[in-house]
């Protein structure tokens, strides 16, 4: 007579070869145990087959997004580490910041040919001397939740509160990414970075958010980026 636990351990391949041989011999001469072994093998195989259907199915988007969202937060943490590593910004960084400011002037003045000139495809426009989101980007910033991304058009990434208390959101456009903050009922553009050469048509395949953008976020963020629930609540309050 084989005790239950040993019988099942044998069935599951958990016994040493010597023990397994002994149980196997006992089962072979016992019709009741042989039948029980067959029934349990069939039951286990049916169970694996039933739940195996789950593994074969496509993973819902929201689960992949939960991982992608985090990648952005991690990038922010890495941007912080980079900032912490260089205690004082080197001259080139100050130059880069200055260059960014100058570039805004160029966009606002509409002196540059290409995708940032005012027009239906531009993500920004000048309004009373300030750079604000154009209609298309504004709609995305106002309505889109990062937890429910869209198939086309601008994509919103992180949402957070800046040190002045305004809500800010990062976005990725086809050719650019940037940071916009809610000011006086508009989405005011705080930073804008052109996508690296060659990535402009395929920005979703780009390897994560622009490090410059993450540094811009880190420079203005107060606390941590919003999680999905905080983002949703902020949207319901009209980003106030």
């Amino acid at each position: 007579m084989v005790e239950d636990e040993k019988f099942f351990a044998w069935l599951d391949g958990e016994l040493s070869p010597e023990e397994a041989a002994r149980v196997e011999a006992d089962v072979a001469t016992d019709a009741r145990l042989s039948r029980l072994a067959d029934e349990h093998r069939a039951m286990t195989s049916g169970l694996r087959h039933a739940f195996g259907a789950i593994e074969a199915r496509p993973v819902p988007d929201r689960l992949r997004i939960a991982i992608d969202r985090d990648e952005k937060v991690v990038s922010l943490a890495e941007a912080r580490a980079v900032r912490a590593a260089r205690k004082a910004p080197p001259v080139w960084a100050q130059m880069a910041a200055l260059a960014a400011t100058l570039a805004f002037g160029v966009f606002a003045g509409n002196a540059m040919s290409g995708m940032f000139t005012a027009g239906p495809s531009s993500p920004i426009e000048a309004e009373a001397g300030r750079l604000v989101a154009s209609a298309n980007l504004e709609n995305a910033l106002y309505a889109q939740l990062a937890s429910a991304p869209v198939e086309s058009g601008p994509r919103v990434g992180l949402t957070f509160r800046d040190k002045s208390g305004a809500i800010c959101r990062t976005f990725e456009e086809q050719a650019a990414s940037g940071l916009a903050c809610r000011e006086g009922g508009d989405w005011r553009i705080r930073s804008l970075f052109q996508a690296p050469e060659g990535q402009s048509t395929d920005y979703r395949m780009a390897s994560g958010p622009d490090p410059q953008l993450m540094e811009a976020v880190d420079a203005s963020i107060d606390g941590e980026p919003f999680d999905a629930a905080e983002e949703k609540a902020a949207a319901e309050r009209g980003w106030k």
């Binding site: 636990e5 099942f8 599951d12 039951m43 049916g46 169970l47 039933a50 739940f51 789950i54 992949r64």
Partner: protein
């Protein structure tokens, strides 16, 4: 490549298996995906606690099992204060279940749900997920004899519920 990419890539690759384990523990598909999402979020927040070189799958299963225990307890407390639910009511409650869950899967989930939690997790990990007794005893912090005796009781009850053949 950043070190965090490797973690996230591996996590993404394990998603189908994590969902399967979630389905063995949960009452229906929507609960299972909620549990999977909570597991991903917890894993990403606690990633510094995972030791590279050790098995990521066991670590994730353990997180999922602990979250499930917590939510299962909360659910039991909640249901005690609510009117008892008809057992068949949940079938087809989530439209996704009606569309894509096979009858076979529903039967399997409903049979698993009848097992006490401590038997269900052992059956799920060993019979469905294919872990060994030793791995499960480490994952659940249980003596191997306890794992083995819970498995005997759980699978014996399942045989009664499901029968010994895949179709019957």
């Amino acid at each position: 490549m950043r070190s965090s990419d490797a973690f996230e890539n591996e996590l993404t690759q394990l998603l189908p298996r994590l969902r399967r384990f979630a389905h063995t523990l949960s009452r229906h598909g929507a609960d299972a995906d909620d549990l999977t999402q909570a597991t991903i979020e917890r894993a990403l927040r606690s990633r510094h606690q995972w030791q590279p070189g050790t098995r990521l799958d066991s670590w994730l299963y353990r997180i999922m099992r602990n979250l499930w225990i917590d939510t299962a307890r909360a659910r039991v407390r909640k249901e005690k204060h609510e009117a008892p639910e008809e057992e068949a009511q949940w079938i087809g409650e989530d439209p996704r279940d009606a569309i894509d869950a096979s009858l076979e899967l529903k039967r399997a989930m409903s049979a698993m749900e009848r097992l006490p939690d401590e038997q269900r997790e052992v059956v799920a990990l060993i019979l469905v997920e294919g872990f060994g007794y030793r791995e499960v005893s480490e994952m659940l912090d249980l003596p191997i004899g306890t794992v083995s005796s819970r498995l005997v009781r759980g699978r014996t009850a399942l045989l009664q519920l499901l029968g010994g053949t895949a179709d019957g």
